[in-house]
């Protein structure tokens, strides 16, 4: 069953990628993509009864990480909707549950609070519905562990870069508070130097004079470089700047159903580089070639 993990992950990332392209967190958008891809047929591949439960367990455990950090808010919403869809369309009875570990519960409650504050009622409603349908197992660890040591070629844990905010470590390190503090200390230091020596000695100028403005401008340049770099890499709109205010307003924007977005999506999807073709695409390709090789009657 484990050999299904890679293809299932690819299909889910395909769906989430399309959802990300809509730049919206509305459930209607998600359902549209789901119906287009006919995603519930993912469960029809394994008709045997005992295999259905194992497959449901596998796909739920593959999708659960998308509901948690470090993914962006929009991807997490997509993950929640995807879990909702999979939970309700699975073929196993009684239904296979979604596992949440204790260590991740804080992130889940924070996510719900963010959704409430931004008035994304459909997100909140879907989550509440899952809770009231008793869709969750409250567990110690995200998956059952059996001390499997020999595994892992690193592919399992790979995080899709496009679904995560671009790294913002420099910005987190050098915030306005930090800059203020450094400016204060700098002033203090200069003051002490002047008090000790009546004549300013050029040999004592060890620290750069305009340290704080320089730091500020370096960070801003890096920020701008990041924006331009990501814009040139991705032709469709990704999350862009890591600047918290700007991205938040973009994420929480209430977009109406834009009908012209639909034909754009397929174009943007095809222009994404390194996208593993989905199950649907691969099946179509295979059948097209088979059809050609059949002799005409």
């Amino acid at each position: 069953m484990d050999h299904f993990r890679e293809p299932v992950k690819a299909d889910c990332e395909e769906l989430l990628g399309r959802f990300q392209a809509t730049e919206s967190v509305r459930y209607e958008q998600f359902v549209q993509i789901w119906k287009d891809m006919d995603f519930s047929s993912i469960f029809h591949g394994k008709p045997e009864l005992n295999e259905r439960r194992r497959f449901a367990r596998l796909i739920l455990s593959v999708v659960s990480p998308y509901f948690l950090p470090p993914y962006t808010f929009q991807i997490r919403v997509g993950g929640l909707y995807l879990l909702y869809g999979l939970f309700n369309t699975q073929l196993a009875t009684p239904r296979e549950k979604i596992r949440i570990a204790l260590k991740d519960w804080n992130d889940v409650t924070q996510f719900q609070k963010d959704a409430v504050n931004a008035q994304h009622y459909d997100v909140v409603y879907v989550f509440r519905k899952l809770l009231s349908d008793k869709a969750f197992y409250f567990t110690a660890m995200p998956t059952p562990l059996n001390f499997r040591i020999k595994r892992e070629d690193g592919k399992r844990r790979k995080i899709c870069e496009e679904f995560v905010d671009p790294p913002s470590r420099p910005q987190e390190l050098v915030t306005t508070d930090v800059l203020e503090e450094i400016a204060n200390i700098h002033e203090h230091y200069e003051g002490l130097k002047k008090a000790t020596f009546t004549e300013p000695d050029p040999n004592l100028d060890i620290v750069q004079q305009n340290l704080v403005p320089k730091l500020n401008s370096t960070i801003l340049t890096y920020c701008n470089w990041q924006i331009n770099h990501t814009k040139s890499e991705q032709q469709d709109a990704g999350e862009g700047p890591s600047n918290q205010e700007a991205s938040k307003s973009r994420r929480h924007r209430q977009t109406e159903l834009v009908s012209e977005a639909a034909p754009d999506i397929s174009q943007k999807v095809s222009s994404k580089k390194k996208r593993f073709p989905s199950l649907k695409t691969r099946t179509q390709l295979r059948f097209k070639t088979q059809g050609k090789s059949c002799p005409p009657r």
């Binding site: 009864l49 073929l91 196993a92 260590k103 409603y125 009231s132 409250f138 110690a140 059952p144 562990l145």
Partner: protein, 344 residues
């Protein structure tokens, strides 16, 4: 002082949130009872209760909390309903016989907020065929149950062995089995040996290991009683191998695979726990003569037998080795054989 104690309790709580020690392999150790309290602290009791809140009450609650209009909720419901197809198919799997079972007597209902622990007990390596696939059985226990309950539920064929040579008196196979004779057993979890001390015949068979460990560079091991310890009192690592020993030297590797809160769809009858949810089936060995019946005798030093040792079912054994009056023919040694597939 008060500040210090709140800090300490916060730290204690933080330590008991299970995290990975090695990614995807096992977790760090945590106290099971505290883990349960942590979950119950953060969850609304409705979330883990067995009953469903009436949908009208839920709707009213949602409207009030979100501060929205009732018609907004109606809109939400119509958009977010299950617009995708659902197939209701009954999956009748063997392991799922007990799922959702409610007890007849309400006193036997598992209380809400109880913890279920899932253990994989490996069969001891005795057979060649287990080199490729590690056979195991899966047992689910409740947090409030004692370790001795788990011990009683483990089925191992070595418990059923009957000792003694019976070629001279095949009809006098005694009724007692090893399980009744050798009652000592222990669990080894996280540096503590939990011994079974319920019966006077039980000895502390872990003392040998402890004395040996003292002569080497091992940390000091502790001892405790199996029947006095419930699973809530334990500190365990999820996914980490532990040990169960019985019959003196029959050792089983025990892995705790999952710890979670009980769910409405679980088996809720407390009398059925510990519950077996998975068991590896073993092919039974048939009699060498008829190849039909499961063997119950094993002979050695047998001049009549084609192999050494050789398996026989009861009828073939008697026909082969005894005449009509019941006299022993030839020279052989016969022992009672219990097939590992007895538990299938």
């Amino acid at each position: 002082m008060a500040k210090c104690s709140t800090l300490m309790s916060e730290q204690k709580q933080h330590e008991n949130v299970p995290v990975y020690e090695f990614m995807d392999v096992n977790s760090k150790e945590f106290h099971v009872g505290t883990f349960r309290d942590l979950w119950l602290d953060v969850l609304n009791p409705e979330v883990y209760s067995y009953s469903d809140t009436a949908s009208e009450i839920e709707d009213v609650g949602f409207i009030e909390e979100m501060g929205i209009e009732p018609k907004t909720l109606e809109e939400l419901k119509s958009i977010c309903r299950d617009t995708v197809d659902r197939h209701e198919v009954y999956a009748n799997e063997m392991e799922m016989i007990s799922v959702g079972k409610k007890p007849d007597n309400l006193r036997d209902l598992i209380p809400e907020g109880e913890i279920i622990l899932t253990f994989n007990i490996m069969y001891p390596i005795l057979f060649q065929r287990f080199k490729h696939v590690r056979a195991y059985q899966t047992l689910q226990v409740l947090g409030s149950q004692k370790l001795s309950d788990l011990r009683d539920a483990i089925c191992c064929v070595s418990d059923l062995q009957v000792f003694g040579e019976f070629s001279n008196n095949p009809d006098m196979v005694p009724q007692f089995i090893s399980k009744d004779h050798y009652k000592s057993a222990f669990f080894f979890f996280n540096g503590t040996f939990f011994n079974d001390t319920r019966f006077p015949e039980c000895q502390d068979i872990s003392t040998t290991t402890q004395e040996w460990a003292r002569t080497r560079d091992f940390p000091e091991f502790k001892t405790a009683k199996m029947e006095d310890t419930s699973f809530y009192d334990l500190k365990m690592k999820v996914g980490f191998p532990y040990l169960y020993t019985h019959q003196g030297d029959c050792e089983h590797v025990v892995i705790l695979t999952d710890v979670r809160l009980v769910h409405r769809d679980d088996c809720l009858d407390i009398k059925l726990y510990p519950l077996i949810t998975h068991k590896h089936r073993v092919v039974t060995r048939k009699c060498s003569v008829c190849h039909l019946y499961i063997s119950r005798w094993i002979t050695t030093n047998d001049a009549f037998a084609p192999t050494e040792p050789c398996l026989f079912c009861d009828q073939c054994f008697r026909m082969f080795h005894y005449d009509d009056e019941g006299n022993k023919l030839g020279d052989f040694l016969a022992y009672a054989y219990v097939d590992p597939g007895t538990f299938n």
